[in-house]
Amino acid sequence: MNLIYEESHAGHRCTRFAKIAAPAYQLPEKFRRQSGTNLPEVSEVELVRHYTEYSKQTFGVDSGFYPLGSCTMKYNPKVNEETAALEGFTDIHPLQPESTVQGALHVMHTLRTDLCELTGMDEMGLTPAAGAHGEFTGLCLIKAYHEHRGDTRRKKIIIPDSAHGTNPASAHMNGFEVVSIPSKDGVVDLDALAAALDDTTAGLMLTNPNTLGLYDSGILEITEKVHQAGGLCYYDGANLNAIMGISRPGDMGFDCVHLNLHKTFSTPHGGGGPGAGAIGCKAFLAQYLPEPVVAEKDGVYTLTRPEHSIGKVRGFWGSFNVMVRALTYLSVLGAEGAKKTSENAVLNANYLMHLLKDVYQPAYDRTCMHEFVLSLEKLKEESGVSAMDVAKRMIDYEMHPPTMYFPMIVHEALMFEPTETESRATLDHAGEVLHEIYDEAVNHDLDLSKAPYMSEYSRPDEVTAARHPILKYEHH
């Protein structure tokens, strides 16, 4: 596979602009670039073929089963792309008069209202760009809340050891000290939590269902304990796909929550973004939300600045075209569709776990939520075949591997999240494939440490990549 630079031929052109009559303006030497760029030179057909080849070398949800745990790789409905491409949404400037963007603001307001209802929150800011950005923003709210009350001792954020890596990183970005507490039976250890809480606790960050795919039955006690100690409770909404219409973070006792619109709300991941991380909160925190929030009065929509806003976390108003997709999706689902979506996400996960557990050990053998974690420790001991080997072998069967080696508290972990948009037939097939791989592993039919075999590329040498970084194409 060539890089675009290797397809370049001097003089080839794809794009030409309309000619203009005015003579070219010359910048004074002081401000002028010293040498030309090295951008490639290709014709339109060369451009299209080059990148079409790239698209063939990129496995997406449209290519096949993508059970990447914690990432909610559900199918992305095509109507979302059509609404997001409407000219009235794509070709409006963020600094147009508000009176000329009432449709766009209406979209934002409706989405805000729907997301408040889904989470049990009172207000929702739509500006953060992604989940981790939502976390960062939520912790800004918690910090602002304590600062505003003059309670300057609260410097600690409690985070379970099963949490996403973004949680402690987001806390650290806000100057908080991270207190990691161990899990017990896969959920929060109430005693460890109680021991960690004191008058220096700013808050708790929690995912429920957590990264092991378990709903923490102690959730009401957990949030109550934190509140009694004067802390706030932050909900990492990465796993909301399990509980829409069934259990809301607001009803669990959480004070603020971020949502990944690019997970639960079906907006595509785009190879890593753009996403959107809406940030919801209870009424008492709404005054701190990032600027702007969208408000409605007498049918007129405006962007406003909350009274004690933490400020802005990104430019303009948010990932608007991602919001359009999310609202389109929610419009199709409605109340019943949202609940059915979660129920089927959970059903599919339990069904797949059921198909696999005779040969692969679930980290916790009980009803899971939208995802589950297997531990391949025993297989590794007995056959030498690792979680990575099994995952990589799935590529040969044209499936995307699950999340590997996360959460860190499970050895040889594989985390599967099939989502509700997969059929029983797909799950049955995945079950058969994983049994075949198991047989290959225990019978030593094949050296799985060399898998995948069938893909155009085999395992990359990551060590050399990090030790001797080559981060751009060198022109010769």
């Binding site: 596979m1 890089l3 794809c14 602009f17 203009i20 303006y25 401000f31 002028r32 760029t37 951008l39 451009l47 299209v48 990148y51 079409t52 790239y54 070398q57 990129t58 997406g60 109507v79 409407l86 000219e87 009235g88 949404f89 400037h93 009432q102 729907d114 760009a129 890596g165 973004t166 402690p168 509980i243 829409m244 259990s247 890593g272 973004g273 400020g311 430019g315 108003w317 948010g318 990932s319 389109t328 199709v332 109340a335 019943e336 949202a338 059915k340 089927n344 059903l347 599919n348 069904y351 590529i395 996360f406 948009t421 155009e456 590329y457 395992r459 990549a465 970084p469 981060l471 194409y473």
Partner: protein, 439 residues
């Protein structure tokens, strides 16, 4: 409606296989007190056609201006059709972050090309694979420079106010101090910068062109900062970099900017993408995803996410940034746009912006009562104009003719933006309408 594949009967059979009788049985871990005991208060679901029609009726309420002379951080440029076609291909749209390199070479190679192009445009050694937007890129660059003994950042008062607001939020979260460098004649005051630099200063941030469209003497700013061992961050509009002196040539340590103007629609301001480029010495301080070249088992060249020891999923609370998802598809769109324009097309686009902006400035300031706010400065594609009548009145007239006029900076001062998407005929129309407002 929903997107569930399995029929009610299939669901029942699956439940039976699990030894369960109803979907409710799946939720026995949810305590009664945390259960929602009513139906969600959302509208009833509809077909995709009804959803589309509803969204379309909202889209039609927005005014799409046939002509725009407004920028201030978001720019309308022409986008070759091939760019939209390529970036809509399902692999690029529906993949996750490329953790599995074996089946993600297309997107990884695209990111590698992106890093190459950004390093090339900015004149820097290395670039990352994108952050959230240009504002956040500036904030992340600040974080790269801070350490416990250097917790002060000097910021030019001539930067985009959106960037400033985001910098303030991040500075507060980091416990860092922001100090403004005053503006003099529409550019950063060099003498004031020299007075402000001290031992606690970590970095200086300015933009080129700045918010008023003026080109800054970044070399002089950088020399002043470096004389005090202070790092230099420069925010750039990438469309100017075919012709304007690069941050690399000016001696900057970190270049940042927003990729919206490289092939992205206006989209009401988002999502865009932020880029960050730096010197090799600071490479391991860059936040976010970085793609590197390596080889697979068979010796074939391939690409992987690399230098991951910097990132949150490895370092957790020791990571300098929590960024996980970035703006991959937007950055990829930048890549395809730059490849579609190519070396010559990119220069042509940049030159047309520069030339048409100067043509418009000359024609506007030839009108009675109009003058450049900063006649002694060089500008690129935006310029501040003093007007004889309130900007709001001008914009009302323009609006009635389908033109989004310049941004009001003061009652009688506006920031005009001209790109290659504005024809000479449009400039003529603008000037004629300004004459009418005068009369």
């Amino acid at each position: 409606m929903d997107y569930i594949v399995n029929t009610d009967q299939e669901q029942q059979e699956m439940l039976a296989a699990l030894g369960l009788s109803s979907l409710e049985d799946l939720y026995k871990d949810v305590p009664e007190g945390a259960k929602l005991k009513r139906k969600l208060n959302l509208p009833e679901g509809v077909s995709e056609f009804e959803a589309y029609d509803a969204l379309k009726s909202l889209a039609l309420q927005d005014k799409v201006y046939p002509v725009i002379f407004r920028g201030a951080g978001c720019y309308r440029h022409r986008i070759p059709a091939a760019v939209r076609a390529i970036t809509s291909l399902p692999g690029f749209v529906t993949a996750y972050t490329p953790y599995q390199a074996e089946i993600s070479q297309g997107i990884l190679a695209g990111m590698f090309e992106f890093q190459t192009m950004i390093a090339d445009l900015t004149g820097m050694d290395v670039a990352n694979a994108s952050v959230y937007d240009g504002c956040e890129a500036a904030a992340e660059a600040m974080i790269m420079c801070l350490d416990p003994r250097h917790m002060r950042m000097l910021v030019s008062a001539a930067i985009n106010p959106e960037v400033l607001k985001v910098l303030k939020t991040y500075a507060h979260s980091q416990g860092a101090e922001l100090v403004m460098i005053p503006v003099r004649d529409g550019v950063t005051d060099l003498a004031a910068l020299n007075d402000l630099l001290d031992d606690a200063t970590a970095c200086v941030y300015s933009e080129n062109p700045n918010y008023y469209g003026n080109l800054e003497d970044v070399r002089a700013l950088a020399a002043a900062a470096h004389a005090k061992n202070v790092k230099v961050i420069t925010g750039v509009n990438p469309t100017t970099l075919a012709l304007a002196r690069t941050p690399g040539e000016c001696g900057s340590d970190i270049a940042v900017g927003d990729g919206q103007s490289l092939g992205l629609d206006l989209n009401f301001g988002g999502p865009t993408t932020g880029f960050m480029a730096t010197r090799t010495a600071l490479m391991r301080k860059l936040p976010g995803r970085i793609v590197g070249q390596t080889a697979d088992r068979n010796g074939s060249r391939c690409f992987v996410l690399t230098l991951q020891a910097r990132e949150q999923h490895i370092r957790r609370e020791k990571a300098s940034s929590s960024i996980c998802s970035n703006q991959a598809l937007c950055a990829f769109r930048n890549t395809v746009y730059l490849a579609a324009l190519g070396k010559e097309g990119f220069r042509e686009m940049s030159e047309q912006c520069l030339t048409l902006a100067h043509l418009a400035a000359a024609k506007i300031t030839a009108l009675l009562g109009y003058s450049l706010a900063y006649p002694q400065q060089e500008f690129f594609l935006e310029f501040a104009v003093k007007t004889p009548v309130p900007v709001s009145r001008i914009n009302e007239v323009l609006d009635a003719h389908g033109i989004l006029g310049g941004l009001e900076l003061a009652e009688k001062e506006m920031l005009v933006c001209v790109t290659e998407a504005n024809s000479e005929a449009q400039i003529e129309t603008l000037v004629n309408l300004l004459k009418e407002v005068q009369a």
